[in-house]
Amino acid sequence: MIQNEMSRRRLLGLGLGLGAAATLTLSGCGGGSSSDSSGASGNGGKDYTGPKVDLKLWNGFTGGDGDIFKALVQQFNGEHQNIAVSVITYQWEDYYSKLPGAVSSGNGPDIAVMHMDQLATFAARGTISELDDVAKTLELSEGDFAPTVWKGGLYNDKRYGIPLDMHPLGFYYNKAVMQKAGLDPEKPPTNRDEYTAALTELKKAGVQGFWVSPFQFTGGMTFYSLLHQWGGTLFDAEVAKATFNSDPAVEACTWLVDLIKQGHSPANVGQDADYLAFKSGKNAFTWNGIWQINDLKKSPNVQWGVAPLPQIGSQKAAWANSHNFTIVKQRSANANKTAGAKVFINWLSQHSLDWAKGGQVPARKAVRESSEFKGLTEVNALAPELEYAAFPPAAPGLGEVMLTFYSAFNEAALGKKSPKQALDDGVTKANKQLEDNRKKYGN
């Protein structure tokens, strides 16, 4: 699937013209003409002493995070005389369809930012290089990152991505609405009993507390989280068979869909309607991405809070994805460029605190535990989710299969089929797609 976390940004982007690409070239200062070409293959990103290299970096940060990213790159260019990184930004949706063509025609970037669930696809298709040596030389290991995020960069036991951040689903609550219904706005519900009790109180006050969106953003992601909370998984361990029609999955789906029947959510919630209703005080709770923090901060009339997802099922779990750095394979390999790219990736990973201000949880442990990060109250509130985040599995070509999963939920949430029926049908189709992928990628 073309992962697009920034649903609101996607709206804006579409409105402002599809495919408009913002290009910003941050040329570093000239000079740095050291002609030392020894160690051209690089030393895994510790430093780079070769001749000056120009690196192209592609990302999909079209929102406020894009500016923060560019500022970081500017700082990097200032500190490194012989590496000049230029940033090119596309909409995520265009990004993943543009990248393969650009790379095969030799016009691709040197460094590409990618979502974790895309890594396997692009690794299997030979677009990106292995980065095991970067991890080794920089002595990066699981301990420096959250294990879930770190493992997500692997495909076939080889590392293809260095994680920059993670962005989970969070639990947003509207304090004003809670107060109106006689709930303590400083004590958002944290488990199933508290959650249903709060919804009951809200219903008494005439509020449909938690709108269940049938769309991937963000109802589908809510179901994804609940399915894991009930102890289910989307696929088996080898990602050979879909398992999202297991009993726990059906139970999780039923719990969610029943909220509509019980009157805690209207039927036929439209795309983004759950979030818009939250902002205008028509509902009290919404499960939405961490990226909405920055949007809510811009809305001073909304009194809101954010907390980790309540534990509705038997364990904690939350949908999450992660941005990773990758190095793109070139038609004609340039060892100097690769070495420079590795230096950049390491540097930015260490400076990811500033990135956290863009509304993402840094992947690097040292940054996450710094006092500066703790000062970012809202983003920090979701950091605990890192321990139990349910990241998408690493399998090439999973995008279309995920779409099948979200469509199955869509049918259940819109009452077109019973949860069991919708998920059974979805699994039948997903298994065919997985088999197709195995043939294609020869796994």
Partner: protein, 320 residues
């Protein structure tokens, strides 16, 4: 092209009454390549950007083709067979998208042929503010699909949208799921498309109406024809070539529907409103399976070609 030359040659044998004919004959005798030279500027563009990609597309459709995977095995008609064999992974999606596009085309084309005709007839009369209304009906067409898509998605939202609120005010049901359930989603998609594009067809009709000589109407009136007779026996025959054009282009445009469904219903419920073009884009650019996407495109183009041929036959038959 050979036809043209033969026609010229044949005419050459006829009594040389008209000067241009003689000139054409002379040119033909002088230089056989001349017509091709005149055609060249377009022919080259068409060849490079039209014909070559089509042939390449057919070639791709016979392979399992991924832009980046090094091996692109030849699979013969395998991609086409997948479209028709019920145990392939794409069979269900493909035919559900054909169904979606079919439903949309079936309902939008008649409306987009008839409503603009009515509009054009009204706008062809002279009344104060005529220019304003002509502009007003054409205005939505100027907007991009992204603009109208987002606009209507929010207007039609079942719980927050203005449409349902207004319906509630006048005492009608205010919980219609305009964008998340069928058949309402089709009503929305067709309705929005008619609102969006009917101005364009109306302008074409208007031009056609102004080409019908006023004397014909006068003559009909003198012969005692009423308004309906004048419409049936003067306006409709006069508009026939224009109608053929409108009919054909509207069918093609409706069959290519993508943006409206992508933005307004997002395929919901389930994947029932995901259209053919959307399916092809997903197959080719999201799942990187250019072979299957090409097979779908070729098959879809053939279906549209058949429809267009039938369409032309139908209108020609009437003319005879």
């Amino acid at each position: 092209m050979a036809d043209v030359i033969e026609a010229g040659a044949a005419r050459d044998g006829a009594p040389p009454t008209v000067a241009p004919t003689r000139r054409r004959g002379a040119t033909e005798r002088g230089n056989r390549t001349t017509p091709y030279l005149f055609l060249a500027p377009y022919l080259i563009l068409f060849g490079v950007f039209g014909l070559a990609p089509i042939l390449f597309g057919v070639w791709i459709s016979l392979h399992q083709w991924d832009l980046q995977l090094p091996n692109r095995p030849f699979v013969g008609i395998g991609n086409y067979r997948d479209l028709f064999s019920s145990d392939s992974a794409i069979y269900g999606d493909w035919w559900s998208s054909v169904r979606a596009t079919g439903i949309f085309t079936l309902f939008s084309v008649p409306l987009l042929v008839v409503i603009p005709l009515g509009l054009a007839l009204l706008l062809n009369r002279s009344f104060p503010g005529r220019t304003f209304f002509r502009a007003a009906f054409f205005a939505p067409y100027v907007l991009g699909v992204a603009v109208i898509g987002l606009l209507w998605r929010f207007l039609l939202d079942a719980n927050l949208g203005l449409v349902n609120r207004l319906l509630g005010v006048v005492g009608l049901p205010s919980d219609t799921p305009w964008v998340t359930d069928v058949p309402w989603a089709w009503v929305s998609l067709v309705g929005v498309t008619v609102w969006w594009t009917c101005g364009f067809n109306a302008v074409i009709y208007l031009a056609g109406l102004q080409d019908i000589p006023a004397e014909l109407y006068e003559a009909a009136k003198v012969d005692g024809a009423g308004a309906w007779d004048r419409f049936r026996h003067v306006t409709i025959p006069g508009l026939r070539p224009v109608m053929l054009f409108v009919f054909t282009t509207t069918i093609l445009a409706s069959a290519n529907v993508f943006g409206q469904a992508f933005l307004i219903t997002q395929g919901a419920p389930g994947e029932q409103t995901r259209t053919v073009v959307w399916r092809i884009v997903d197959e080719g650019l999201r799942d990187y399976d250019a072979g299957r996407a090409a097979a779908m495109s070729v098959f879809f183009a053939l279906m549209l070609a058949v429809v267009s041929v039938v369409n032309f036959r139908l209108f020609r038959y009437r003319e005879d």
